[in-house]
Symmetry: C2
Subunit: 339 residues, 2 copies
DNA sequence: ATAATCAGTGTAAGCGCTTACATTGAATTA
DNA sequence: TAATTCAATGTAAGCGCTTACACTGATTAT
């Protein structure tokens, strides 16, 4: 059955009876080739099933039309959604998106940066703003533009499109306090190497301190991103005395896990305990009662990030930070504390 | 501030006072270079911040250590999960994963195939088994191995790891019938260009016909993959006379949407109406009552697919099909029909 | 002491492609 | 009619890397 060899430009040229240059032109600038020739070449391309080799092309043209994205994990729906619109925006501009995941590990993020840049990525989408200075320095030296998303950057360095996680968390907390809650606990995401999770925790803390509640923030538990982790953390929180009357969660997944455990424990939400989330994922509207949460327009963030990165790549002027506004969605899980 | 130029192998060689061959060897087969030399070279690599150029490397070595995956959409959690474990398995084998999405469009799938192969993908992961013969032919000619996942292949052609969507759907339907339901309706995924959705619908149809129910299958509505689409389809189904006593959904997202609408309509699940899903996504356990569904071990499928593809790439012998077994998870949403 | 071996390194030929420049011949102009 | 222009195509030089082969000097075997 004989090994099949990928046809090369040369094979096509020979088959069409022209030079490789003409074939290349047919593919990249068809208007520079007269119609009959072009047709002959294209026929050969189809007949041989030729596809240009990316490596050769990138090497010769020093362009790749590729951008890379490194997200912590594909399993988190909010990144998936933002990434989908990011990709749609890019493909309109004729760019291909390469996706890699870091598993929240800065070393792996760095390795993926190198892999993507080695593959010729013209620009990178990264999540958040917390990463080792050495990684940032590496990007700077390479001259590879990147934008951080899902959070705003610290100081004036770098380009970001995101929202103020801390401020949004504070605002939601203030809302909880306004409802009369004085014993508040939090289930946050794992804050290590995750500036979004850390900022949300800080925001809640800050709001509680500002209001100078007598009891203040009873407890903060950090938990991985899974329903059952939220459930377990909730159970632990309910053992505290005095018991919190409201549990603020760092994301909707944790919040829904908490709700489920509350139901299992025979606690009614919000009569016995209030619960809030963050992100407004699809399911938050479907649970019963609906989850009070912070809505983050992930799609819009993806689009804005694409637009920003494209401008950066084309060396057009851009603003350093694009702030996406969030809003609080009040549904049923936040009520007054039990009397 | 001067344009920064990517350092090349040559720059490193010059800085370290060795030949490019030695630098290349330090990177690819360090044991072939004596320690002092290697240290000098590595120092130069770090000092210059050198990262090998993928294009050049691929061109020269004719290997890429890259595999591609083309999924319909990143927004579907079940693909995300399987893909995550697929990637983990690959990266253990030193391969990089490139992900592209087709949006359920065969033409875009084909374009992405070309893009990934052009980028040197040694193998491809595709979803399902339904695609134009021309695409299959293209892969065959190229000699690029691929495995289809999430479904089994038709006939004896190609390599697949998945499960029998139709059989699993039939089995679940039989369970519903055994509970006494005689008026059954279905909300399926959009079956066009989606062999998994089509197979699930066919499986349900088949089971109903086999049992030769008097009323038979009342109705099948196809709906996109979103909670609210499930909700709307459910509402339409409830207008039918006679009303179905059980609604079998093609996936859990549709089922949960249906459950929510049932609650809004004042219908109790399962007392007034039974609902079932398919996939067993995380949230299905958290809703109230828990969703009766078919569990699909997505992670295991991702791992098996990686293993299979790796063997194919290494030209090791493999079985044509790996069947992943599914199981029915009975939770609260399936009960006897109202009397 | 000489020959054989071998580890460590260098030399140089491409890999498949793009593109600056050279060439050709037809159309245009003087 | 000769000179000029220009569109269409060809020629060939790399892009950054790997690797077969050549070379060198030290170690080992004879």
């Amino acid at each position: 059955m004989g090994e099949y060899l990928r046809p090369t430009l040369d094979d096509v040229a020979r088959a069409a009876g022209v030079s490789t240059a003409t074939v290349s032109r047919c593919l990249n600038a068809p208007e520079r080739v007269i119609a009959p020739t072009r047709e002959r070449v294209m026929a050969a391309v189809t007949a041989l099933g030729y596809t240009p080799d990316f490596g050769g092309r990138a090497l010769a043209s020093r362009r790749t039309n590729t951008v890379g994205a490194i997200i912590p994990t594909m399993e988190n729906a909010i990144f998936a959604r933002g990434l989908q619109s990011f990709q749609e925006a890019l493909s309109k501009a004729g760019k291909t998106l390469l996706v890699a995941s870091s598993g929240y590990d800065p070393a792996r993020e760095r390795a993926q940066m190198e892999a993507l840049i080695g593959r010729g990525a013209d620009g990178l989408l990264l999540i958040g703003s917390a990463r080792p200075e050495s990684s940032v320095e590496y990007l700077r030296r390479r001259g590879v533009p990147y934008v951080g998303a899902w959070n705003l950057g610290p100081g004036s360095d770098g380009f970001f499109v995101g929202f103020d996680n801390a401020a949004a968390a504070s605002e939601l907390t203030a809302r909880v306090i306004a409802r009369g809650h004085r014993r508040i606990a939090m289930i946050g995401g794992i804050s290590e190497m995750n500036d979004r999770a850390a900022a949300r925790i800080a925001g809640v803390r800050n709001a509680v301190e500002t209001a100078m509640l007598d009891g203040g923030l009873i407890d903060v538990i950090e938990a991985p991103y899974a329903f059952h982790d939220g459930a377990e953390a909730f159970a632990r929180l309910m053992e505290r005395t005095p018991r919190p009357t409201a549990v603020i969660c760092g994301n909707d997944v944790l919040a829904i896990g908490a709700m489920q455990r509350a139901r299992e424990m025979g606690l009614n939400v919000p009569e016995d305990i209030s619960i809030t989330g963050f992100d407004d994922i699809d399911i938050s509207e479907m649970v019963n009662p609906g989850l009070t949460t912070v809505r983050v327009p992930h799609r819009r963030m993806g689009e804005a990030a694409a637009e920003m990165l494209l401008k950066l790549i084309n060396k057009e002027p851009v603003e350093r930070q694009i702030e996406i506004s969030t809003s609080i969605i009040e549904r049923g899980t936040l009520g007054p504390p039990p009397s």
